[in-house]
Symmetry: C2
Subunit: 232 residues, 2 copies
């Protein structure tokens, strides 16, 4: 019985359009200032303050104060996953027919995007599949980076071994992709791969949102390093 109230109060956090807009904006994994979120959601700063308090109190967001700014970000991967899950359910249920899906989620988002801090969409799934095919990733029971996967991450991608030390966060985990209905690589390794791709200029954000596209350098790298050819 008490769990009904827990469920309700969690859902209530996202049940307001202003708060929902803020959370969706934060899905890009970056930290936003309170003012930016207020402007994005189209409300007065004072109103935004109240909403942000609620979201923090509810455990969905964390804050970091710095000078006169207050930076907000999602509390963690599970908060991001929750919002992704929920927003995925707003897509029309019935037919995942190829042609129809173009109308539901933007084509760019389906092609590639960041999901909190790792890659998702067709691009994310392609990278995950290629890593699995190359023996870098083992999906036979859960998600696990193989020994050669670690070599690849530190050698080919140039990560330092300390980047891959799992703390509270698992090195690799699967994240269900709702546009592709497939799992893709998340966890520490997923974040580092995404970070490296962005840092190397292999992928670039489209506008200010979550959608990303491979650059021409990136296409070459994807082909050479992972054998991914047919990415658009």
């Amino acid at each position: 019985m008490t769990s009904a109230s827990d469920l309700a109060s969690l859902a209530a956090l996202l049940a307001d359009e202003t708060r929902a807009a803020m959370c969706l904006a934060l899905l890009d994994g970056r930290a936003w200032t309170a003012g930016e979120l207020a402007a994005h959601a189209g409300v007065a700063p004072s109103t935004a303050t109240e909403h942000l308090h609620r979201l923090i109190k509810g455990g969905l967001l964390v804050e970091r104060r710095q000078g006169r700014h207050r930076y907000l970000r999602l509390a963690g991967g599970s908060a991001a996953q929750l919002i992704e899950d929920l927003s995925a359910h707003t897509e029309p249920r019935p037919t995942p027919a190829r042609g129809l899906r173009a109308a539901t989620a933007s084509a760019a988002l389906r092609r590639g995007r960041t999901c909190y801090d790792h890659l998702a969409g067709r691009l994310g799934v392609a990278v995950t599949d290629a890593m699995t095919a190359a023996g870098l990733l083992d999906q036979s029971g859960g998600f696990a980076i193989t020994a050669s996967g670690v070599d690849w991450l530190t050698g080919t991608l140039g990560l330092s071994p300390s980047d891959l030390r799992p703390g509270r966060r698992p090195l690799a985990r699967g994240c269900l992709d709702w546009t592709e209905r497939r799992q893709h690589l998340a966890g520490l390794a997923g974040a580092k791969v995404c970070e490296t791709f962005l840092g190397n200029g292999w992928i670039a954000r489209i506008g200010s949102g979550r959608a990303v596209r491979p650059t021409s350098d990136g296409k070459a790298a994807l082909r050479d390093l992972l054998g991914i050819r047919d990415i658009d």
Copy 2:
């Protein structure tokens, strides 16, 4: 921008304690009458009517009118999954340490339960693992029933081949189990397995909720058919 309002209106469906209680009750996969749901949630029948209208309009529930009764059930597996996902996030984040989890979800629910229409909890995971080990289920890329799995379902379990004809619904799919953090068998096959177990008296519901336990017949069957010994 408009997707923020979609997200908000979906979340709003579960943002009320009364509606949340109704949805949690319906997670047992059965159809409840409007009156039963009203009593369960502790509100007047008239109040329940309004809530049920909203839930139906929102696509979470479907109704079937029969005589002077109105039967309500969850709209489908994805609706059930949504509610399970969300309620899983109300569990304390930090440590999935063995000892502590006893306090969070009821022990009986963790041991075994129905998740919409298939088995979940340690029991569901055990069955899934045993089927995989026996070569009946292939988890190497998604969830798939093998040829010998089909034989086992029709032969050993006594299902008719027509029971296993996938329509809109996939024969097998994975469903993420939040108490066990593991996938278990869902989809058409998962539902039929659960139905058969219940029908054969191998498992019994504990009280009126979702928790189930294996009967002594069931323990024998699990041991003989799947080699599962250490189920409590």
